[in-house]
């Protein structure tokens, strides 16, 4: 696997294999000595066109644990990239010897564009492109589900509910693609403007009522972050009605079974899409997701950089 730009780059075998590698690395991360020599001499560039300190740090620690040299190129503020095209930035990074470019970009398809161009020889890892995909997030979510629910490689019968702005969420898309690939059942819930009915063509069940969606007894409830910048647009309900209809807390939290896993890709808007109570509930896997993010990103780096590319 040279690049990871989309969950569609994976088949069931490579997905299970990546999850297995991630699980091993999660164990390695619990050891005293956390540095591995695997990527000695390799250069990983974090090319971020959007601010995301969390994701950037996660990739940075992952690369450093594997002994890679890491360069952070914050293209959203860097004067180096002002007005420069993606092509020229890529050519520059290639000339500097980047072995992997980890890219976060506000436009859908940017990672694929870079990966399929002849501007670079190295690998591309998509750290989020527009509303399209965020594949490492989906992998770390799947790893968390495996661990919490003791799934092994069998996701059949697992029911996952994703709640919020599905239309604009790359986390939702990557999760839908991966979970469907692994054999899980996925349903989505949110207001009609943010969960258009055509989403059902992705192979998911669509709900426009959170309580009805919960009545199906999902094993996992994944809450998506509300993007504040979208709140101004008329497709979004008012803040108070969003909390009333789409927040996880109160009676909805109380109604969840003891084995249900609550997930959130972070950063959370406490008291908004998720109540503080739900975020801190023992059923919440939020911090485990963060920890697993590291293992998954190490596995992805190791996999893209090995294999005679």
């Amino acid at each position: 696997m040279k690049h990871l730009v989309s969950i569609k780059d994976l088949n069931i075998d490579s997905a299970i294999s990546l999850l297995a590698s991630s699980q091993e690395l999660a164990l390695v991360n619990q050891r005293q000595v956390k540095k591995l020599p695997t990527l000695r001499g390799k250069t990983v560039v974090n090319l971020f066109y959007e601010n995301s300190t969390r994701t950037r740090i996660s990739f940075e620690i992952a690369a450093k644990r594997l002994s890679a040299d890491v360069i952070n190129f914050d293209a959203s503020t860097s004067s180096l990239s002002k007005g420069e095209s993606l092509k020229d930035t890529a050519l520059t990074l290639e000339a500097l010897g980047a072995d992997v470019i980890v890219m976060r970009h506000p436009m859908s398809g940017a990672a694929q564009r870079l990966a399929s161009s002849d501007w670079i020889r190295g690998s591309v890892i998509n750290a989020g492109d527009g509303s399209h995909e965020h594949p490492t997030q989906a992998l770390l979510d799947a790893l968390t589900m495996q661990q919490r629910l003791d799934l092994g490689s069998n996701f059949k019968g697992l029911k996952v509910l994703i709640v919020g702005d599905i239309l604009h969420s790359r986390v939702a898309r990557s999760n839908i693609f991966l979970l469907k690939l692994l054999g899980a059942e996925v349903s989505v819930a949110g207001p009609e403007t943010l969960v258009p009915i055509e989403i059902s063509k992705l192979g998911v069940t669509v709900h426009h009522d959170f309580d009805q969606a919960l009545a199906d007894q999902p094993n996992v409830v994944m809450m998506l972050r509300v993007q504040a910048e979208r709140m101004s647009k008329d497709l979004f309900p008012s803040a108070s009605s969003y909390v009333k209809f789409w927040s996880l807390g109160g009676h909805r939290l109380a109604g969840l079974g003891p084995e249900v896993v609550i997930m959130h890709p972070g950063p959370m808007n406490r008291g908004f899409e998720i109540s503080a109570e739900a975020a801190d509930d023992p059923r919440s896997a939020v911090l485990q997701q963060v920890t697993n993010g590291l293992a998954v990103r190490m596995a992805v780096l190791q996999t893209t950089l090995s294999g005679g590319n």
Binding site: S85, L86, K87, H105, P106, M107, S108, G109, A110, Q112, R113, S116, S117, D129, G130, S131, H132, E133, L167, H168, R170, R173, P196, E198, I199, K201, L202
Partner: protein
């Protein structure tokens, strides 16, 4: 020295030779003496493109009148209509005359300027429509193409103005409100790819509105680049109602679908967007039943840096002139209902009538020798096209049935034996 084309098959199936003296066809039928053998080749009036972007003035890195006319000639065209979205915009008599002169200077085909409907394409006030009509360029077709004339009052006024001299408004049907930030056809694939969708309704209801405005004013309305099954139905309805409406389709909307967007390769980014397989089928049906009148290339060259970018940053548009005839031939042949008469109507006689180019669109003694000889037996590898300054060719890797053998513009070979000629 006269040129004699021997043994041509004409669109009606008859056989004929053609003798050309100077810039004129002087004899047809069986002509004694030797000439250029055209046995099993199709003799057609020179092709006419009602919809070309030549990019000059203003964007000469992408295309010039000269390079664009060379591409046109290579594609069998003897006349092209140059859209107004240049810099400055072709919204005055001076600018349209300058484009006309640049076309004459290049000499590869007639370059007929299209005038802007509104000043600077801003959609606020009408341009100098009658002055452009009265200029040397004698503009009869007006369009803000690239942008929709979305204000209905303005559109109605524009139709009323061109009605006076029998002109036509060519509308780029796209409701700007509902296509803000739109990147591709709206639907399940746009959702899957995380790209903002371009609703088909935002095209269709503009067509319906303008058809009613055309009916009201009695003026001629032309709809540029139809892309949806619904749009074909609206035009069909309007024609049945007796409205003076014509419709155009591009080669790419006949052939390509939104599935190509999966690659996120901006070479497939075009306005209006590629639609679905069902839409291409409806467009082809519209071509066959006469709902769609003409083929327009919407040849839209862009320099490399405008396409070597993220999908969202890249410019809309694709090359079309050099491949259009071959694609039309392949598409019509694919339906099993190819007739050379329909082919000729779509690519020559109807666009000539639409745009008022009276020296084109008909093969007859006494008329200007604007002739394209088409070879249906040889293939065109799309990757070999080379005349445009730009390379945003979406067909690379594809091979089409049929290609242009010779093009004669005003009695001069611009293409001979499939080779573009260097004119002095």
């Amino acid at each position: 020295m006269p040129i004699i084309l021997k043994n041509l098959t004409l669109a009606d199936g008859s056989r004929s030779d053609i003798r050309i003296e100077g810039d004129t066809i002087v004899e047809m039928g069986t002509i004694s003496g030797s000439g250029i053998d055209c046995d099993s080749l199709i003799g057609l009036p020179g092709f006419v493109d009602p919809h070309t972007h030549l990019r000059e003035p203003g964007f000469e890195a992408s295309e010039t009148v000269l390079s664009g006319s060379r591409a046109a000639a290579a594609g069998g065209y003897t006349a092209v209509c140059a859209m107004a979205n240049t810099l400055p915009v072709a919204d005055t008599a001076e600018i349209v005359d300058a484009v006309l002169d640049a076309g004459a200077e290049a000499g590869y085909c007639q370059v007929q300027p299209i005038g802007a409907v509104t000043n600077d394409l801003a959609g606020k006030q009408l341009s100098e429509i009658s002055q452009m009509h009265q200029s040397r360029a004698n503009v009869k077709m007006f369009s803000d193409d690239g942008i929709c004339v979305s204000d209905p009052a303005l559109m109605q006024e524009a139709l009323a103005q061109v009605k006076v001299f029998g002109g036509v408004i060519a509308q780029h049907a796209q409701d700007p409100e509902r296509t803000q930030g739109a990147q591709m056809n709206a639907g399940a694939l746009a959702i899957e790819l995380g790209l903002t969708g371009w609703p088909r309704l935002a095209e269709e209801d503009i067509i319906a509105r303008d058809a009613l405005l055309a009916e009201q004013t009695g003026a001629r309305l032309h709809i540029c680049h139809l892309t949806t099954a619904g749009g074909v139905e609206v035009v069909r309805w309007a024609k049945q109602r007796g409205i003076t409406i014509t419709a155009e389709v591009t080669p790419h909307h006949l052939l390509l679908t939104e599935e190509l967007v999966r690659s996120y390769d901006p070479v497939y980014k075009v306005n209006p967007p590629l639609r679905t397989d069902a839409d291409t089928k409806a467009l082809i049906a519209g071509v066959l039943d006469g709902t769609i009148d003409v083929l327009g290339t919407d040849h839209a060259p862009h320099s490399a840096e405008k396409k070597e970018a993220e999908w969202g940053h890249a410019a809309f548009g694709m090359l079309g002139l050099e491949t259009a005839a071959s694609i039309l031939h392949q598409v019509l042949a694919g339906t099993g209902s190819l007739t050379w008469q329909l082919f000729e109507q779509l690519i020559s006689s109807r666009p000539a009538a639409l745009t008022g180019l009276s020296d084109h669109g008909q093969l007859a003694v006494g008329r200007k020798a604007n002739i394209t000889v088409f070879n249906p037996h040889e293939d065109l590898a799309a990757s070999t096209i080379s005349q445009s300054l730009s390379s945003n060719n979406p067909y690379a890797g594809m091979v089409f049935k049929g290609r242009v053998q010779h093009t004669l513009y005003n009695g001069i070979f611009t293409v001979r034996d499939q080779k573009l000629q260097e004119l002095k």
